[in-house]
């Protein structure tokens, strides 16, 4: 029966090629634009640490003086060095990583070209396990290396390839600025959708390529780069002791109980600091997990979200338009349905046939939509925006586009089909 309906629908659509082409195009445009933007938003929000992102927490405390100007009731988005190291030292039982961003001049091994800049991260050895970073050679540095400020480094796969080609560089030396470190590990390709652990320099910036123990980086004066927010009269030459927030701490808490404990701990810490005279304000702490932190920071740029809304609005207009055109189309063929009803066809049959016809328009629109979405994503990729590389076609899109187009068009066809099958055959036939 379905095959017969599809055949009837195809025949009926072929009778009015212009109107059909237009309906298909309208559905295709709306669906194509919407799917392009939804895919982009989807990949931009993909879980950067699949599996345990909800166990990763970003603690914040309020260290600012009572007189410092604040934007809202939120504590600063980073920690001072003093608070970060205090928090870390008080809870040695927790898996945690403290970090600061940097940019270093990398000097290739002797006689192999010019120096270049690479993005660096100065952090704890726990970073790699905490964020499930895969390794190609070697591994992370140890907690002793952190404490001893050992001259070690982990590098990304791209940097290893650039500096050493195919050879395994573990154990070789990495020349950064005026210093030299021993490579202990090479990461395998690690491309979290968002550079979630430090959002201030832009969540979709290039990936970090050099990882150095924080103590080592500070001792050897490797240049830092990132957001530094200060109050009072800060001394930027001594960031470790001054009134600036510039470090990020990530901790892993495995269940709700641990989360509650840690939150209590942050409040207690704030109270202690206030009693000691370091903090001036009432305890104001936050403990967001990774998904909450990303949502709070609205990592997807406003422009992208605005364009997504625009695409969805466009789709809505296209759908309303489809409803109108179908209504007109089915009303025009009332005589045909009248005759069929008079010959004994039940309402159900006419309704089903018209729904199949709508579905067929939707499926064709979906096919057009895929082509448009592919073109749209290609267009996004060719833009110089820093998130452009994320815009790629995936299987989900290939399945979802025709499905969405068909379902939406069938929904759009329900009202016209219902109107068409409720006509009284006698009334229509009398008019003939």
């Amino acid at each position: 029966m379905l095959v017969y309906y599809v055949e009837l629908a195809a025949r009926s659509l072929r009778r009015t090629p212009v109107v059909t082409a237009f309906m298909v195009l309208a559905v295709g445009l709306g669906i194509g634009a919407s799917m392009t933007m939804l895919t982009l938003v989807h990949v931009m929000q993909r879980d950067p640490v699949p599996g345990h992102s909800s166990e990763l927490f970003y603690p914040q405390v309020e260290p600012r003086s009572a007189t410092a100007r604040t934007k809202d009731a939120e504590p600063p988005s980073q920690l001072t060095w003093i608070d970060a190291t205090n928090l870390m030292r008080s809870r040695p039982d927790i898996e945690q990583a403290l970090m600061v961003g940097g940019k270093v001049a990398v000097r290739p091994p002797q006689g192999q070209g010019m120096a270049f800049y690479a993005q660096a991260r100065y952090t704890s050895g726990a970073f790699f396990h905490l964020f499930s970073v895969p390794f190609r050679h070697g591994g992370a540095w140890s907690r002793e290396d952190d404490d001893m400020r050992a001259p070690v480094a982990v590098i990304s796969r791209t940097l290893a390839d650039r500096l050493f080609g195919d050879a395994d560089p573990v154990g070789r030396s990495l020349r950064l600025e005026d210093t030299s470190l021993r490579i202990v590990g090479v990461m395998d390709t690690w491309q979290p959708s968002v550079q979630f652990y430090d959002l201030a320099p832009g969540g979709y910036r290039h990936a970090d390529e050099v990882f150095v123990p924080l103590g080592t980086a500070r001792q050897r004066a490797l240049p830092t780069e990132g957001s530094i927010a200060c109050w009072g009269s800060p001394d930027l030459d001594h960031l470790e002791t001054t009134t600036c927030t510039w470090t990020q701490l990530w901790v892993r808490l495995r269940d709700a109980g641990e989360r509650r404990d840690y939150l209590d701990f942050l409040r207690r810490y704030s109270l202690e600091q206030k009693a000691a005279g370091r903090f001036e304000r009432e305890p104001n702490v936050r403990l967001r997990n990774l998904p909450e932190w990303l949502a709070y920071n609205r990592v997807v740029p406003g422009d992208v979200r605005l364009q997504t809304l625009l695409a969805l609005g466009f789709l809505m207009v296209c759908l309303v338009n489809t409803v109108t055109l179908m209504l007109v189309r089915y009303q025009r063929r009332r005589e045909e349905y009248g005759v069929r009803r008079a010959l004994g066809a039940p309402r159900r049959a006419i309704f089903a046939q018209l729904i199949v016809e709508s579905g067929l328009v939707g499926a064709c629109g979906g096919a057009a939509g895929i082509l448009l979405a592919v073109a749209g994503l290609w267009l996004v990729r060719s833009q110089p925006a820093d998130y452009a590389h994320l815009a790629s076609l995936d299987v989900g899109l290939l399945i979802a586009t025709p499905l969405a187009a068909t379902v939406l068009t069938i929904l759009a066809g329900v009202f016209p089909a219902w109107r068409a099958c409720t006509i009284t055959p006698a009334h229509v036939l009398k008019l003939q």
Partner: protein, 403 residues
């Protein structure tokens, strides 16, 4: 034209009228907001740098040596660049127009006044002959003298340079209605040591523009050294060659460095406006598609109505209605339906703008833009209905009688 019978006729088509009005309302809400966004982005695109774009090339280099001697090394670099073939002048500057790296300061016109006369004017600092290198056009006064270039940074307590040059717009903002030459400008609120204005130049865009009224508020200050890009004035025909040979010339001077960026200034300007241009094109495409879809929707519905009412039209024509009155009937009916949609649509447009404004920093939609959007849709509705209406009018009365 008699309205009541028209409205009575439309009552028989509640579903179709509602759908078309709904579609017009949605289109109107989106189109009004979109064309307003187009206009505000396009306004930024009109800003010109104010300097000679195609004769300028810039490069940024970071030395890897630590310690003293950075100034001497920068001067040596400038000498090396000056001798490249095709280069006519070089200077080091803190930033360039439309580079996206604004240095700004509050400016006062009286010594020690805590109340600035201009908030957040852009500071352009440059080494000897930087105005000529950029190609800034002097309209009054003179360029800086060689002995006026001093050690100065807006970020520490060094005294301001003895002289300064302002753009025409900044002069008008600082001293409205008065000549700027010979006045003193104070950098930073409460500053007591002013710089003497010795020249006024044609408007130059600041490094980051907002589309507001202070996009050309630029104060030029002469300095001996400044951290920032090297600017090279080149013969435009040699531009690509200079860009190609420039890193080698710098490396020959001192290899312990990284030449991080180099670009023809025309490309810098192009890049600066890229997002605006992309947004304008996107919005224009969406608005165009929306209007097309809506127009075709109206066309489809009116063709059907004309087809459906061919009997009535024939009777009316046979009873003496002119072609013209049939045509006007359909046009008026269309205006009524589209008007209904627009009435709803403008309200939705305002609500949408308010909603977007709270979330996406979209500026307030002026009422005049609602009018523009509504007129546009009304016109499109008329164009769409014109074909079917003419066909209706052209139908001979005999047709009905023959039926």
């Amino acid at each position: 034209m008699n309205l009541p019978p028209m409205i009575a006729a439309l009552r028989h088509h509640k579903a179709a009228v509602t759908l078309i009005a709904l579609q017009v309302a949605l289109t109107c809400a989106i189109v009004c907001n979109a064309i307003f966004l187009i206009a505000s982005h396009a306004q930024r695109l009109h800003v010109s740098s104010g300097i000679e774009d195609d004769a300028l090339v810039w490069a940024r280099s970071s030395g890897l040596r630590r310690g003293d001697g950075a100034d001497a090394r920068a001067r040596a670099d400038l000498d090396a660049l000056r001798h490249l073939p095709g280069v006519t002048a070089v200077a080091q500057v803190n930033t360039l127009p439309l580079m996206g790296n604004d240095w700004s300061a509050d400016l006062g016109v009286t010594a020690g006044d805590a109340q600035p006369a201009v908030n957040g004017a852009a500071l352009f600092l440059g080494t000897p002959s930087f105005l000529g290198t950029l190609g800034v056009r002097l309209v009054e006064g003179r360029d800086f003298h060689a002995d006026e270039y001093v050690d100065y940074s807006p970020f520490d307590d060094t005294p301001a340079p003895p002289t300064a040059i302002v753009t025409r717009q900044l002069a008008a903002h600082l001293w409205p209605g008065q000549p700027a030459l010979g006045q003193r400008v104070y950098i930073g609120a409460g500053s007591s040591q002013g710089a003497l204005v010795v020249g006024v130049v044609a408007d130059v865009a600041r490094s980051a523009i907002s589309g507001g009224t202070n996009d050309h508020d630029v104060l030029f200050l002469p300095v001996r050294t400044v951290a920032g890009p090297y600017a090279l004035r080149v013969d435009p025909t040699h531009r690509d060659e200079v860009l190609r040979t420039l890193p080698a010339a710098l490396i020959a001077q001192d290899a312990d460095r990284i030449v991080t960026d180099r670009e023809a200034f025309v490309d810098t300007v192009h890049r600066y406006f890229h997002d605006d241009r992309a947004m304008v094109w996107l919005l224009v495409t969406v608005v165009g598609s929306l209007l097309l879809v809506t127009a075709l929707g109206i066309l489809g519905l009116s063709s059907y109505w004309v087809h459906q009412r061919r009997r009535h039209i024939g009777v009316r024509r046979a009873l003496g209605a002119t072609r013209r009155s049939i045509l006007t009937y359909f046009l008026a009916e269309n205006m009524l339906v589209v008007g209904l949609g627009l009435a709803i649509g403008t309200c939705v447009a305002m609500w949408l703008n308010h909603w977007l404004g709270e979330r996406y920093e979209v500026p307030r939609l002026p009422l005049s833009w609602l009018g523009i959007g509504a007129l546009l849709l009304w016109a499109i509705g008329l164009v769409a209905v014109f074909g079917p209406a003419r066909r209706a009018a052209a139908q001979p009365p005999m047709w009905v009688i023959r039926q």
